[in-house]
Amino acid sequence: MGPIGAGLAALGAGIGIGLIGSKAMEAIARQPEAAGDIRSNMILVAALVEGAALFAIVVGLLG
């Protein structure tokens, strides 16, 4: 069961980070002058989403 859970966690994180990326691209397209700010916030939020997924992966593979 562990590896399946790890895979599902990766799936969820993939969707989440994909959404962040797509919205950030839209935002940069609307306001190219704010690209720098948007990019660093995008990385920060993606890291937070990824953190939740990595919890699940580590718990899935250890447990």
Binding site: S40, I43, L44, A47, L48, G51, L54, F55, V58
Partner: protein, 422 residues
């Protein structure tokens, strides 16, 4: 261009097909056996897996810490060992005294690069020649499977104890019969990274004294980009104009230490090759530093937001306070897991791709398969290495920016008439 890609695809396919069909060229020569597992000595490998290739064991061996650097075949770079067992006191020396697992010194044996100990008092002290090491999977009382190793000495087999760890059994470790304080691969690489940092940043600091008011020169120009970026994009917006200068050194040290360790982990040979930031103990200590800095610098507002969030109804506070207190610990915990999992995952992927060579090559029996594995695995490894370069910088940056944002939340002074989303 189109034709070129087509040609290339056909060539690769043809190569792969001939390779797989080519088991008639099976070779069993010693050379192929030697080469198949870069990190194992062929002795242990053969005893354990009956000569077969075990990808999981090889990958796990390579991401683990070790008491010696393995260069190739029988060439090892020894590292100092410092071992302490309560019954027999200290044992010190160089890891070459174990002769890669063939010699036991005072009951200590080198097992897959890590020092293990025979706790049995009937085992002789001093240097003795020992036989092969057996690997067994045993089930503990709570139903978990555990790898146990036995060393053979004069037709008796003795159980080996792994070094003590302070995880309380959570990660499968715990206090065993001895403690390992050696300079291992990871410790060596960390010291090297620290020395490099001291050396480089002293040079940069000298540059700033020398070129005051002038354009930077030499190595200073290279690092100024990082400094300015870390100040303007990380600490200033995250911590705020008022306090950022106090925390700039801490955040920068975290960033550069993690960056150097990550990059050295990507070098596949001697000064690098240690999986420092992919070791959960290292990332734990880094996260604990952040935890301490954040909570020692927490202002009144910060603690008020943790224990008694202003501006919300009383019954919500009762729910929110435990969540906030948990959050204090979850934040550094996620820092620890993020760095550890990212770097370990990268190393595992690269090692798995390299493992394709031995898997396709049927462990040295099929040269053509190995060649196909080398082409496929090699191209993917080159690609993954480039991604890992990005990840090395990105994870160092993420660790630094998240630490900075936690510090920023701790030192921030709120204006309570404003509506704020915490």
């Amino acid at each position: 261009m189109k034709v070129d890609i087509k040609k290339f695809c056909i060539l690769t396919l043809a190569l792969a097909l001939t390779a797989f069909g080519n088991s008639t060229f099976a070779q069993h020569d010693d050379h192929a056996q030697h080469e198949h597992a870069e990190g194992h000595d062929e002795h242990n490998q053969n005893e354990e897996h009956g000569g077969g290739y075990d990808p999981v064991a090889t990958v796990m061996h390579h991401i683990a810490d070790a008491n010696e650097f393995h260069v190739w075949k029988d060439v090892h770079i020894p590292l100092p060992v410092m071992l302490y067992a309560p019954e027999q006191g200290w044992t010190t020396g160089l890891s070459s005294m174990f002769e890669h697992g063939h010699t036991a010194v005072d009951g200590y044996v080198l097992n897959h690069g890590r020092i293990n100990r025979v706790a049995d008092p009937s085992f002789p002290t001093g240097e003795v020649h020992v036989g092969h090491i057996d690997h067994k999977v045993e089930t503990t009382e709570d139903g978990k499977e555990k790898d146990v190793y036995y060393v053979n000495y004069e037709n008796e087999s003795y159980k080996l104890d792994a070094p003590s760890t302070l995880d309380g059994g959570m990660m499968g470790g715990g206090i065993t019969s001895f403690y390992d304080f050696s300079i291992t691969k990871n410790v060596f690489t960390m010291l090297l990274a620290a020395l490099l940092l001291i050396f480089i940043f002293n040079a940069v600091a000298r540059g700033y004294k020398k070129n005051e008011g002038k354009a930077p020169s030499g190595i200073q120009s290279f690092f100024e980009v990082f400094f300015v970026f870390m100040r303007d994009e990380v600490t200033k917006p995250m911590i705020g104009e008022k306090h950022y200068e106090r925390f700039q050194p801490f955040v920068m040290t975290l960033f550069f230490f993690i960056l150097f360790c990550n990059l050295m982990g990507l070098i596949p040979f001697f000064p690098g090759s240690a999986n420092v930031t992919g070791n959960i103990a290292v990332t734990l200590v880094l996260a604990v530093f952040t935890f301490i800095v954040v909570n020692l610098n927490g202002k009144k507002d910060y603690w008020q937001h943790v224990f008694w969030m202003p501006g919300i109804p009383g019954w919500v506070k009762i729910i929110l306070t435990p969540v906030e207190i948990l959050g204090l610990f979850i934040r550094p915990f996620s820092l620890m897991i993020r760095l550890f999992a990212n770097i370990s995952a990268g190393h595992i992927i690269i090692l798995s791709l390299i493992g394709l060579i031995f898997l396709f090559g049927d462990n040295g029996a099929n040269t053509g398969g190995a060649a196909a594995g080398a082409v496929v695995g090699g191209l993917f490894t080159a690609f993954m290495n480039l991604i890992e370069l990005l990840v090395a910088a990105l994870q160092a940056f993420v660790f630094a920016i998240l630490s900075a944002s936690y510090i920023g939340a701790a030192v921030e002074e709120h204006h309570h008439d404003e509506a704020h989303a915490h």
